[in-house]
Amino acid sequence: MAMSRDEVFEKVQGVLVDALGVDDDEVTAEATLMGDLGAESIDFLDIVFRLEKAFGMKVPREELFPAESLMNDPELVSNGRLTDKGLAELKDKVPHTDLTEFEKDPDINKLPDLFTVTAIVNYVETRVNAA
């Protein structure tokens, strides 16, 4: 069932407001989940559960929030930066996220900044319209 990007954004906004207890106007497109909206581990799970319910589809947590497993793999991270292999892995897992800025300095501390509201909207839009 196709949905317009606006429709997807509105629903994602609703999910984030419920899961994170923030206000509507805090959930802007560029807002980062961890930095701006205060999300952490348990919230990621809550977001996944609610997205599944809102959009009627399974959302493997790995697909939406892959960084956690990446960060602990020594082949993919070296000296606090993603290796080429790590970057390739990341690109593979998050086709819905723009990595051009991140690639210039793949510092793993900056990984959380990739988790923006836009990234979620991109992911959901792709999944919903692929069906």
Partner: protein
């Protein structure tokens, strides 16, 4: 003061839904502090009663293999207060369950009147909380809790059948 906030299960549908009862009585010491002169059941303990009802439901759904810990109270709303002599019913329903966590919705009623609506998230801490130290054995589900289940007729699935899962 024992840390057990439900008295018995009256309904138990494994993996789906459970209903427990808690009687509120002047015999409970803490009521005399909350408040001196007019005892009411603290709202936080009503949340705990729901957490215990739901926690046992979630734990049983995974055969008590994991330590199920309250990680987040999504929402708790109270519509009236509860006093000694009251008996409250706690109804919990599994909304989602995965290897790492579970989401529960619940409501508390007193003689059919809605007292509270509560949404909780539990974490299965063996799968989470990397780096935090805690003992290996399952300290969450002790004899105290499993004996609450003895009186309820459980439609137990065989031990090796997969638990309900979604996501992750």
């Amino acid at each position: 003061m024992r840390w057990i906030w439900i008295d018995k299960f009256v309904e138990f549908e494994s993996g789906r839904r459970a209903v427990a009862v808690k009687n509120v009585t002047l015999a409970e010491e803490h009521l005399h502090d909350h408040f001196p002169g007019y005892p009411v059941m603290p709202e936080c303990l009503m949340i705990e009663a729901m957490a215990q009802t739901a926690g046992i439901l979630v734990g049983e759904a995974r055969n008590f293999k994991e330590k199920v810990i309250l990680a987040k109270i999504g929402k708790a709303a109270f519509f009236d207060h509860v006093v000694p002599g009251d008996s409250i019913k706690l109804e919990a329903q599994i909304e989602t369950i995965s290897p790492e966590a579970a989401g529960i919705s619940g409501k508390i009623t007193r003689s059919g009147q809605l007292i509270a609506e509560i949404e909780l998230m539990f974490s299965h801490i063996d799968q989470n909380l990397a780096g935090k130290k805690f003992p290996e054995e399952n300290f969450v589900f002790t004899g105290m809790f499993t004996s609450l289940l003895r009186d309820v007729v459980l439609d137990r699935r065989p031990a090796d059948s997969p638990p309900m899962e979604s996501g992750g």
